[in-house]
């Protein structure tokens, strides 16, 4: 005799299961999922590219302001030499994405042969190791204002390498931050963004195959005086543009390092109530893809120095052609610093005030 459970099992096995199919739902869901995956991939690749470009551009400014260049972190590889003579080093892709930025870009000025490039790469790694251990000396602090607008603080550290050489490293923004500091910065930036406390310093528009994307270079001033750039997609022109990671890298190299675009002309666009002057260039990638890339700054007020401005400013500073406005004392990372405030006026009337802090005080 069958048990109750055997009988109910027999009943269940004899059940005719209803069937229902919805080809429409399958097609629609499939399309939604695949397009979502595609968009996320393109979006993340684009973001990486913007961030690399942002660092590169940020460092161009930092490098030009400093008497010597470099900056930080982990394992490096040599990326290439920029048209203007800077050697560009970057952290390895394996380290990408670990600190909110996908790679750290370092620009080094000078004249390096192959052995010199390799030595510089090793130096960067050693310096990073010293930085992690805080085996360094803060000996200068630079604050710069352009037409009254602070552009963020630069910290100059002295590192003594194992072979006895000394490197002076200007560190600002987030490229010099530790992973923990970067996470803290990220939260602070998110808060500043929510409160609208950002300055759009420049915009970049990329157009490929009729699709466009606009990125805003936003400057955030952190509570400790550092200024960091973040490239953010403009919701009015979010893209993404159909470029692979390889194509984005090639475009980045052509546009930022090698400057190999064909100039198409200047134009103006209105973004968030401000007028931006754009210079438009066309780039042809190695696979034949034609990309139009426009980049520009706000028409006024001018509070960001161009490469030419920086050159002029450096010359004025080297020739001591500034007007000393005064001195003041301030503690930086717990150490007293004496700042001297000097005003420079560029040929186009742009007013640059640089305050240089040195250890010690008049107190």
């Amino acid at each position: 005799m069958k048990s109750d459970n055997e009988r109910i099992e027999e009943f269940l096995k004899g059940i005719v299961l209803p069937e229902y199919k919805s080809d429409g739902h399958a097609r629609q869901l499939r399309a939604q999922i695949l397009s979502g995956l595609q968009a996320r991939r393109v979006g993340s690749r684009t973001a990486r590219w913007w961030k690399t470009a942002a660092l590169l551009l940020g460092l161009l400014g930092a490098a030009a302001l400093a008497t010597e260049t470099i900056i930080q972190v982990r394992h490096y590889y040599f990326y290439g030499r920029a048209k203007d003579g800077f050697y560009y080093f970057s952290t390895t892709p394996e380290n990408a994405g670990t600190n909110q930025v996908d790679s750290i870009g370092i620009l080094v000025r000078g004249d390096l042969d192959a052995a010199g490039i390799e030595q510089k790469r090793k130096d960067l790694e050693e310096i990073d190791s010293l930085r992690q251990r805080n085996a360094r000396e803060l000996f200068r602090v630079y604050d710069t204002e352009v037409n009254g607008k602070p552009s963020g603080r630069l910290f100059f550290y002295k590192y003594v390498l194992a072979n006895g050489r000394t490197e002076i490293i200007p560190e600002g923004g987030d490229v010099s931050a530790s992973p923990a500091q970067m996470e803290a910065d990220r939260q602070q930036i998110a808060d500043l963004r929510q409160r609208g406390q950002r300055e759009i310093r420049s915009i970049i528009e990329v157009e490929v195959g009729g699709q466009s994307q606009r990125s805003l270079c936003c400057r955030y001033l952190l509570s400790d005086g550092r200024g960091v750039n973040r490239y953010e997609t403009d919701p009015e022109l979010p893209g993404p543009v159909p470029l692979t990671f390889k194509q984005e890298n090639e475009l980045s190299r052509l546009a930022v390092l090698e400057k190999k675009g064909e100039f198409l002309g200047s134009t103006q666009v209105q973004v968030l109530g401000r007028t931006f002057n754009l210079q438009k260039y066309s780039f042809t990638l190695s696979d034949g893809t034609v990309v139009t890339r426009s980049e520009g700054q706000p028409e006024d007020p001018k509070n960001n120095l161009t490469g030419a401005d920086l050159d002029e400013f450096r010359q004025l500073a080297a020739a001591n052609k500034g007007e000393t406005l005064g001195t003041y004392d301030e503690d930086v990372w717990g150490k007293p610093f004496k700042f001297t405030r000097v005003k420079y006026v560029l040929s186009d009337g742009t007013e640059v005030i640089q305050s240089i802090g040195k250890p010690g005080s008049g107190r």
Binding site: D4, I8, I33
Partner: protein, 193 residues
């Protein structure tokens, strides 16, 4: 399914899931491979067209969004999908908890049935509706093992993977589920074979 076939299937899935993380065509293949059976599982559990489409969408959106987090060592991909689906069903039933079995619109009168005999169809549907109502009286864990075992034809080891329970626990749940189901069906006036 034999262990050999299961292993082969899992290996194929491993390659497909890996590829799907960077290749849209592979993601499409993965979707095509599992959409029908997950859809069927959800439908057999709810018997509602709209709910089935909604929950199946949730399952695949969630799975593909977290594809990069899927870990092979822990669970086969198929079981992972079933686990997500089971979770979606649990949340759905939780929302429906206050509805009485009688009021719950379990049966869509328009669903097509692919069986040869009209008489069999009618009898089968009646039985299935009755069964569905009885299943609603069972706890979620009992309902899940019944549907997986008898409607979806899953082996004990597959049910263990999906429910993340040991075999002894699943056997015990099945035993209790059958006993409770029998009581519910008898109460509903069904004569068991």
């Amino acid at each position: 399914m034999s262990l050999e076939i299961l292993t082969e299937w899992a290996e194929e899935d491993r390659a497909l899931v890996f590829a799907a993380q960077s290749d849209t065509a592979a993601a499409g293949q993965l979707f095509d491979k599992y959409y029908p059976e997950i859809f069927r599982y959800v439908y057999h559990s709810t018997l509602d067209h709209a709910v089935t489409e909604d929950l199946t969408s949730n399952v695949f959106f969630s799975a593909f969004r977290h594809l990069g987090l899927f870990r092979w060592r822990r669970i086969p991909f198929r079981a992972w999908l079933y686990r997500i689906a089971t979770n979606e069903l649990r949340m759905h039933y939780r929302k429906q908890k206050r509805m009485s079995a009688a009021n719950a619109s379990l049966v869509d009168p328009e669903f097509p049935v692919a069986v040869p005999s009209a008489d069999t169809v009618a009898a089968g549907l009646d039985d299935y509706r009755l069964l569905q109502r009885a299943l609603l009286d069972l706890g979620q864990k009992y309902r899940t093992v019944i549907v997986l075992r008898y409607f979806e034809g899953k082996s004990l080891s597959e049910i263990c993977e999906i429910t993340n329970k040991r075999e002894g626990t699943v056997k015990s749940q099945l035993h209790r589920a059958l006993a409770q189901l029998k009581d519910a069906l008898v109460l509903a006036g069904l004569t068991l074979p």
